[in-house]
Symmetry: C2
Subunit: 198 residues, 2 copies
DNA sequence: CTTTTCACATACCACCGGTATGTTAATGAG
DNA sequence: CTCATTAACATACCGGTGGTATGTGAAAAG
């Protein structure tokens, strides 16, 4: 029962093609610079197909962003889970986040165009659902076990999230740091500083 | 010599009108949602005037952003200079930054649309020239006088800048913090933590 | 007074996001 | 098996947009 069905297979296939090609184009040229014509041509379909799957250009971008966010969240979580100690989980997760978001493709979609296209609130909701969630959980656990001094974790989560987003952009920038390790060192210093203050 | 001349006066006047009205519209509706037709109508001129003063829609937005950045930089610097102690200057500047960028008009232009429209590098160059410059100077001075432990200031500047940008957006968000003071408290905790770590 | 130039206004165009309609083949009912 | 339905697109089309080329009248230059 519930065999795939040739119908649903085709549907999934074109949807994936649309997502794949538009992700590539959005990443390379930015949301505003790529037209629907390029996307449908690259995907080998027509605008009719696009609008059958997505409500608008922004909706398509939203689906792409969601995909990117999930990917980032997965990779960060994987890096964190490789450690047993909570603190190591946090630092490993942060380092993995910087490594993943340093890829220019992910940057433009997730950090630059994302907020502008979907609006900051909607973007934040997606971010919350993926990477920021992990960060908040990790911080909460560290506060609970006493490694970090007691404090509200939500504002701290936002501060660190913002700091890391900016750091990621700077790392990949042409005017970026001479030594990438220096940026990571600064972030680690900042994290360690949080442990020794009430 | 070099009297204004009725010619240059008119020029300045229409230019200011263009900047004023487009700033209002960009802030209220976002860069993508406002058309040149709305702008020139609000300013009481035509597209010919707009393209006589600016190269493109993005160029116009860039001029608006530059204006906003200068304004933010001025207000932050003013708040900082009201204090004599370097550390007080830093905290006062940070608090002023949060207060100024909490205004939704400034947010959308400076923090959301800015990077997407001009590209992150160009946006960063403008930010550097205004507010981030002050932050970097303040941190460098604090390191020099020994209030902060010796460390490269550039990465730290980026981290704090990013943290504050995100904090400002969160403060003004509908899903923002219950108590705004809590956010400021978290930032201050973070700053204080930096003093007591090498 | 003449000429040039500047600060626009007007007219126009290619293109883009979005829609309305047509077409074909898979699917479910009887 | 037949046949009506519908899902998954393709095609044709449209209003509006950013951008440009050209016209124009008044201020400035000589």
């Amino acid at each position: 029962m519930n065999q795939p069905g040739v119908r649903a297979q085709q549907r999934e296939q074109t949807r994936r093609a649309l997502l794949r090609e538009s992700r590539q184009l959005f990443a390379a040229q930015g949301y505003g610079a790529v037209g629907l014509a390029q996307i449908v041509e690259a995907a080998g379909v027509t605008k009719g197909a696009l609008y059958h799957h997505f409500d608008s250009k922004a909706d398509l971008f939203g689906a792409v962003l969601e995909e990117v966010q999930r990917e980032v969240g997965r990779r960060v979580a994987a890096a964190a889970e490789a450690h047993a100690d909570r603190w190591d989980q946090l630092t490993a997760g942060c380092r993995a986040f910087l490594a993943v978001t340093a890829e220019p493709d992910i940057q433009r979609i997730m950090l630059v165009d994302g907020p502008a296209v979907l609006g900051w609130s909607a973007w934040r909701a997606l971010d919350e659902a993926s990477s920021a969630q992990h960060l908040g959980d990790a911080l909460a656990a560290l506060v609970a076990e006493g490694t970090l001094p007691p404090q509200p974790v939500e504002p701290l989560t936002h501060l660190l999230s913002g700091a890391m987003n900016e750091a990621a952009l700077w790392l990949a920038s042409p005017s970026g740091p001479a030594d990438p390790a220096e940026t990571w060192a600064a972030l680690e210093r900042l994290l360690r500083a949080l442990r020794h203050t009430g």
